[in-house]
Symmetry: C2
Subunit: 387 residues, 2 copies
Amino acid sequence: MDAASPQGFLVHHGRAGVKEADADFAVIASEVPAAASAVFTRSRFAGPSVLLSREAVADRIARGVVVVSGNANVATGADGRQDAEELRRRVADLIEADENDLLIASTGLIGRRYPMPSLRTHVASVRWPFPGADFDAAATAIMTTDTHPKIRRARCGDATLVGIAKGVGMMEPDMATLLTFFCTDAHVGPVVLDDVFRRVMDRTFNALSIDTDTSTSDTAAVFANGIAGPVDLVEFERALGGVALELVKDIARDGEGATKLIEAHVTGARDRAQAKRVAKAVVNSPLVKTAVHGADPNWGRVAMAVGKCQDDLDIVPERVTIRFGTQEVYPAGPEPEKLERVGEYLKSDEVTLHVDLGVTAHSTGEFTAYGCDLTEGYVRLNADYAT
Amino acid sequence: MDAASPQGFLVHHGRAGVKEADADFAVIASEVPAAASAVFTRSRFAGPSVLLSREAVADRIARGVVVVSGNANVATGADGRQDAEELRRRVADLIEADENDLLIASTGLIGRRYPMPSLRTHVASVRWPFPGADFDAAATAIMTTDTHPKIRRARCGDATLVGIAKGVGMMEPDMATLLTFFCTDAHVGPVVLDDVFRRVMDRTFNALSIDTDTSTSDTAAVFANGIAGPVDLVEFERALGGVALELVKDIARDGEGATKLIEAHVTGARDRAQAKRVAKAVVNSPLVKTAVHGADPNWGRVAMAVGKCQDDLDIVPERVTIRFGTQEVYPAGPEPEKLERVGEYLKSDEVTLHVDLGVTAHSTGEFTAYGCDLTEGYVRLNADYAT
């Protein structure tokens, strides 16, 4: 077993005939029941994977997750639901779990049924317990159009934490979905774990936006099997938050066609919700994204994006400050030679756009959103993708 | 005077030194006070042009509008407000109007003051009454990065209606803003005109989205000077709606980098507001826009966009129907040979995406949104634009 992996988790990865050639099937399972929490897409077109997983995690206990890559099993009607139930039952039987203790996640083409015969054959060929816990291989098996696997680890007292993620658009070229899974051997009670996980997700994955589109299958889940014993909860939340944030940045950098990570840091808001609204407006604006791509110190577009928060009547231009990196560009625009330096700054591959709204000085009125630039590569990838 | 122009309106257009070489200044004025209505951007960064115009039209009577092209006069502080007041006062004096009867609209660079000396010199050189009513020239003078002027006309009984518009992004490359002005010699009372105008704007210009960004200076205004006498109001609303819709389509077709007009037609919604939400989600989705650009019959992306309306709990996949043109693609996907035909359809330069939500059969639960495809040209235009 990988020394850097949490104890008591086993990983299966393989080729189950969903994709033509690549790994397309993974199971991550705890040998003992684990405290579990998960958050899902709110899409009205969510498919059976999300619906079944939502039920599975409702009691905050689970054994793990089965992941199919290459087929989203979305918009497949009653047949698709039956397929998902059958696949989950077969994997649950394999790992000697109650089927309602297993989550299922699928990403890929919409509107096409699973290739059930080859999935059945594949599952029948797998033996439990799995021989190892190769999370790197799992991170690779869940990829669709990602250009590289995303995996991050942390220690927390005696416990180990590993997180994997995939996703290059909130909804990729047909290949739907953001997936991210966290496994730890820390002992954290299910109610506390749920609290911590939702807080961490809100400031990491919910602060990420590649292209404003939302997948039908987004799933994020954490499993804590307790084998390494109790941990300091503050330290645990910090470790989980750190791993999640690194994965978020990995995803933004690998966004479709992206060349830069953009952080929109908003301060001085009335409250956190207002700061989040403004940060997302900035990081989602196609004109801000193209300006950063072109390294154009065009702060007027950031002002425009802030202005889009039309119902925030306490935002007034006279109190707003905009900085690119550390350089103030509004209201005190830099001299021409400094503007050039701002242009240089925008050429780096991590760019921070800072907006202070000047509504309050509370440190709670703060939020950072993560995104990427909008490039011709994004359009090419998504326009030329053939169904 | 142009025979196809409404009586009693005069137009001045010229070069006032705002742009380097092109026409950049226009005044559209009624010789007598006209009933007037206007709607504006709700941006929190709206500049003095919008603020002054909002006051000017509050009493629903106005003489016309002065338009500066190439400088938005936004984020220019107290100086910018004084400049706007002075320019408006000078033009009001020229046309013998109360300054509070004149709207002002500006589009172009943000954060830079008007070149007041050359504007003063230009206004001083103009004589009233203007010698003509060349609305075509006005439509040209208000352009920024538009590739051609946008002008549409209609008759309504004895009255004539002309509408002009500019704008190629909701916020163009620095060159902010959608502007549109309608002039008619129909006699329509100010309260009724306001009612009719808001209804028409809601289903035309408010149904338009190029890139989800919102300008700091959007302005739409109508002036009815009554010289041609009363008209049938139903016929008038139809004429105004027709002219506005044609201008909206002109703008979508001329969207930055656009090659196609996309209409998202939603039916079967609970109410009009729900239909509008879904139609805008479809027409704004970058993945739908790139799929249409690539002529990819990728209906999964339309389903995904519908699914983004997360709070509409009465939208369920089982009741939704999606058609590309007249061809149903969901739930009954077409046979392969028909899918090819759908791909062919998507190659045309006007594409209609039809979504029936199946929530109700009320004909009121209906809305059409207008947009354009997302192309590499859009990214190039906006990334390479130098401040």
